[in-house]
């Protein structure tokens, strides 16, 4: 796939900033994708046309039990190789091209396919892994070993849609108005340190965790070296990828709550920790010490989608903007308040989370999945 946005000198750096937005229904009401497209499009200037993408949750109820793989292929050979691999490891319940709308704004698209799969019973037993771990290893193997094949979405009843282009065009390209989900996240990209390409557009996903990210990770290489020790491979040419793996590692494998993950990746300063009550001080010190290599430094605002919920987090210095709005059962989180007001002018409450403060919303019926459940706010 074409790697856009490199300067003539071959340098990749283009200074800029991205946009993120999300819409979440706590009652589980399913909304089509047109609202999230309207929200992200008002922040057009924050992107430069080198990447846009969306994640939708609850969009495949008819295949809720299968893993939904969304795959980019550079060429036919990659598809053949990947499908042979998938056939060896999975029962393919359904496969199809992902429907697109041809348009002049989106060009050079790879082959874009979708598979609903279940791990083959014999293979799964043989591997002695649980289902999620089996899937993660298979995704990792395809993305690392099969040249020109990228499984960029691999959760159940959710999916990632991304491309090189402005996000509003990407939304139309993927016909998002034809899907309905209880949670949508969106990203408009303005690549800074790495090339703009289809695989490098956000969201980044592994199983049902998706990340959209505005910022750049100063600690990328330290984080990468650490996470690669646990079997992850960073091969998508951009820093956000590593956040996805950190979430998978800390939540799924280490069993941390999302609040604890926030205390690891956006840990408070030692001076701030010192002023906390003793018990809290001890807890924060423990997390900083045990997972010191997973502290993410540099500016970021991220939205993390997961089954049944949504989390927003800023770096501890709050070097990127993030606004939260609430109206009845609806939650809106975006880089700018205007991106919320354009879809919901009348809000019950609007506020900016502090740096390092995890803002977590879950579906009313799955409350209790995180430590506190529901929403966690400062003040």
């Amino acid at each position: 796939m074409l790697k856009e946005g490199r300067s003539a000198a071959g340098e990749n750096r283009i200074p800029a900033g991205c946009a993120v937005s999300s819409i979440f229904s706590r009652s589980g009401k399913r909304l089509d994708g047109s609202e999230i497209v309207r929200s992200i499009s008002i922040m057009h200037e924050r992107s430069n046309g080198l990447g846009g993408g969306f994640a939708g949750y609850g969009i495949y109820p008819e295949y809720a039990e299968q893993y939904a793989f969304h795959v980019f292929y550079n060429h036919q050979k990659a598809k053949e190789e990947c499908e042979a691999f998938l056939n060896r490891h999975f029962d393919l319940v359904n496969l199809s091209k992902i429907p697109i709308r041809k348009m002049p704004q989106i060009t050079d698209e790879p082959l874009i396919w979708r598979y609903f799969v279940t791990p083959l019973h014999t293979k799964l037993m043989e591997s002695q892994l649980d289902e999620d771990e089996f899937v993660v290893r298979c995704v990792n193997r395809v993305n690392t070993e099969i040249d020109g094949a990228y499984i960029y979405s691999s959760g159940k009843n959710m999916g990632v849609f991304k491309a090189v282009g402005f996000p509003e065009d990407v939304g139309r390209f993927y016909r998002l108005e034809e899907y309905a989900g209880y949670c949508w996240t969106a990203h408009g990209r303005y690549p800074t340190n790495t090339p703009g390409w289809w695989g490098g557009a956000h969201p980044f996903a592994l199983l049902d965790h998706t990340i959209v990210h505005n910022g750049e990770i100063s600690s990328y290489d330290a984080n990468r070296r650490c996470i690669e020790m646990y079997g992850y491979n960073c091969n998508l040419l951009t820093d956000t990828e590593v956040i996805t793996y950190i979430f998978d590692y800390l939540v799924r494998r280490q069993g941390l709550t999302l609040e604890e993950v926030a205390n690891v990746i956006a840990a408070p300063f030692w001076t701030t920790i010192q002023n906390r009550p003793p018990k809290e001080r001890e807890r924060l010190t423990y997390l900083r010490n045990v997972y010191s290599s997973l502290l993410i430094t540099g500016p970021f605002s991220i939205l993390v989608g997961f089954t049944g919920g949504l989390m927003a987090l800023n770096d501890r210095l709050k070097l990127r903007s993030m606004v939260v709005g609430e109206k009845d059962d609806m939650v809106y989180i975006a880089s700018e308040e205007s991106a919320i007001r354009v879809v919901q002018p009348d809000l019950d409450r609007v506020w900016s989370p502090a740096g390092g403060e995890a803002v977590i919303y879950t579906l009313d019926r799955v409350k209790g999945k995180t430590a506190k459940g529901g929403v966690n706010r400062a003040h």
Binding site: T272, L317, K318, S321, E337, S338, A354, G355
Partner: protein, 214 residues
Amino acid sequence: MEEKVYALGERYIGAGLSEGTIVLDKVPGNALGAYLDGGVIEVHCNAQDATGDTMNDGEISVFGSTAGYAMRGGAIYVRDDAGYRAGIHMKEYKEKVPALVIGGRTGSFLGEYQAGGVIVVLGIGSEDRQPVGNFCGTGMHGGRIYLRTEHLPKDLPEQVSARKADESDMAAAAPLIRRWAEKFGGDAKALLASSYYLLTPNTKNPYRQLYVTN
């Protein structure tokens, strides 16, 4: 002249404006009133990042929340709260003394690298705790910050010295507080009767020594 209509989220509204008044009732985009040079902007909702970035003269009133930014003249009045880094790198020169008055509370890094001008945080509704976030005045080397509170932040950097403001200290803040109350309908007398802390750079421990001793 037909009045210009501004879109929701439109950036750079009133940038460099030297005269006239703009009244907004939809959330403006970033950098509202950047380089403002004498114009007047009234915002009847929240404003976004970088409001008044590098403004030189004039006045911005926000009937909601926002952040002021790197001013070198003029005044910004905020009815409610301000976000992180409000008043970052404000500076002053002779008669150019910018002012930022915030009715509610602020995020962390209020007045970061402040080099001049006056910041007043009234902390209305936050009387039981400090009205600012962490790291207030980090890198401060000029200007004044007034905090209407009994709760001085615990983590003030060594470059900042704090004292209870006396009557002569309040001379610079009182007209600003009166103007804020007049705009947003507060009780100036009661506000002025409160106790304020005044934060100024600590000349015995200047900021330049943070990195190099020269």
